[in-house]
């Protein structure tokens, strides 16, 4: 795991590149692998001047297309990537959002915390989390949805 998270500026770029990849490949594990590849490639240098985030996303775009060819998925991806690239220029990752999320996570209910930790910390499938908390898959997925929504609202509240 490459920890570029130490530098606040790089942290923002890293998050946005991660989001850009995840929005394109729709698979968390693949997205994390591709993110690592992009950061590794970026760490070897090559950036001269201009927009560092756009440069990283260009590396990511090449990796995503390569990945799509390898998995023979989503031939329509090229056009979608153009739209996502445009969106990436508009959507921001302010530090305040990260901080707000940190606060909001601290206030999760016990069940909400268990589901979120299972999903994001232990990276378990919903089926396994459902078994662990003694609920059905549908109920667990509903909890996941509710917690995400609650977190989103909490973050928005803190930011306004």
């Amino acid at each position: 795991m490459i920890h570029v998270t130490m530098d606040p500026t790089l942290l923002q770029h890293r998050t946005m590149v991660h989001a850009y990849i995840l929005a394109s490949v729709w698979n968390r594990a693949d997205a994390e692998d591709l993110l690592q590849e992009v950061l590794l490639e970026a760490s070897r240098g090559g950036f001269t001047s201009g927009n560092y985030g756009a440069w990283l996303r260009e590396i990511a775009r090449r990796r995503i297309l390569e990945h799509a060819r390898k998995t023979k998925r989503r031939a329509e991806l090229a056009q979608a990537l153009r739209r996502l690239e445009e969106a990436a220029q508009r959507v921001e990752v302010p530090d305040e959002r990260r901080e707000a999320l940190r606060h909001c996570l601290a206030n999760l209910t016990q069940t909400g915390r268990a589901v979120m930790e299972g999903r994001y910390q232990q990276r378990r499938p919903v089926e396994v989390i459902a078994q662990a908390i003694g609920k059905t898959v549908q109920a667990t997925y509903a909890i996941l949805k509710r917690v995400r929504q609650a977190l989103k609202e909490c973050v928005e509240r803190r930011l306004t």
């Binding site: 795991m1 998270t5 729709w26 996502l84 969106a87 959507v91 990260r98 910390q121 949805k145």
Partner: protein, 344 residues
């Protein structure tokens, strides 16, 4: 639409849905923006939990938080590419001191001495913030401080929860009912599961140290109480079943032996209680014995009646004896035969 986007990032779309969404993303800029915002929030969540994963697990594996800091520092210097410029003795001194303080802070956190850990990290942060060259370290220390603060409050909450559980165990009110014990056990197990990753003493203590030192010891005792309550409930279950069958099917004068036999047979087939399984066949045989006695009386009564009346009485009684057998006698078959005989 949000639901489809969330299902997409969760990898839950069908191939057809994926193709449709990819097409729409290429055509609809607003949808692409929405997708990117969702993916951004997911990326932030992944980062938040990845940080927890790192701060919690590395110390356990390596035996010291210092290892994590050393690795983080190496990564910071090597990969992120922060170049350490020669900036005079003060910078060198402060850099070395930051390293020492964070290592000491990590050791304190490892010992769950969060107050001292926080104080050491704060000192380190103060020094790091003096130099532009150390801004990366400062950011890292700030993040660690936030983690330490969260760990501190998690540990404080865990201690309060454990003390409350011990107090409840001492009062032992929970053990008055099977449901009470079950509820207590499930809370104790949930607490054990939640506290184990924190490495708290009561999760590591040997059960032999007793229920007030070891959560596993407490669960062992409550589990034994639960099993005993369960066994007792099952015993009562057999008695309760017998009383219910007597009341429903075997009231004197209107006995429905067929219904009683079916009820006992269902109980035998479905109960998981060993004692119930052992006793129920005896109860079933008793019903058959009583049916045999009732049939004997009925037979004698039929002999005193006219043929037509006897046939009517036996036909009416037949459903109550369906499936009844005693020793080698098939009571139902005998009644049917008697009816046929009287009809002739």
């Amino acid at each position: 639409m949000n639901d489809v986007l969330y299902r997409a990032v969760d990898g839950m779309l069908s191939e057809a849905e994926e193709a449709e969404l990819a097409k729409r993303l290429g055509e609809e800029p607003d949808l692409a923006s929405e997708m990117l915002k969702i993916a951004r929030d997911e990326a932030l969540l992944a980062e938040a939990f990845a940080r927890r994963r790192t701060t919690r697990r590395l110390p356990q594996k390596s035996g010291g938080f210092g290892w994590f800091l050393a690795a983080a520092a190496a990564v910071l210097l090597g990969i992120v590419g922060i170049i350490l410029l020669p900036g005079g003795r003060e910078l060198d001194y402060d850099r070395a001191r930051v390293k020492e303080l964070t290592a000491e802070g990590a050791t304190a956190v490892d010992r769950n001495d969060f107050e001292r850990g926080e104080a050491l990290y704060r000192q380190a942060l103060e020094l790091a913030e003096k130099h532009d060259e150390l801004r990366g370290q400062a950011a890292s220390i700030r993040a660690t401080l936030a983690d330490v603060s969260r760990m501190k409050s998690e540990h404080a909450q865990a201690l309060a929860d454990w003390r409350a559980l011990v107090a409840e165990f001492r009062r032992s009110e929970y053990s008055e009912t099977k449901e009470g014990i079950q509820n207590f056990l499930s809370r104790a197990r949930a607490l054990q599961k939640a506290h184990e990753p924190l490495g708290l003493p009561w999760t590591k203590a040997d059960p032999k140290e007793g229920p007030e030192k070891s959560i596993a010891g407490m669960i062992e005792i409550a589990d034994a109480e639960y099993k005993e309550a369960l066994a007792s409930a099952r015993r009562e279950g057999f008695q309760a079943m017998r009383a219910r069958i007597e009341m429903l099917f075997l009231k004197e004068g209107t006995e429905d032996f067929a219904g009683a036999i079916a009820a006992w047979q269902t109980y035998i087939d479905t109960t998981r209680d060993t004692e119930g399984k052992t006793k129920a066949p005896g109860a079933l045989m008793d019903v058959n014995r009583r049916a045999f006695g009732a049939w004997d009386r009925l037979k004698k009564k039929a002999e005193t009646l006219s043929r037509d009346e006897a046939v009517r009485v036996l036909k009416n009684a037949l459903p109550r004896f369906v499936g009844c057998r005693f020793n080698e006698t098939d009571i139902e078959a005998e009644i049917r035969a008697k009816i046929e005989e009287l009809k002739r």
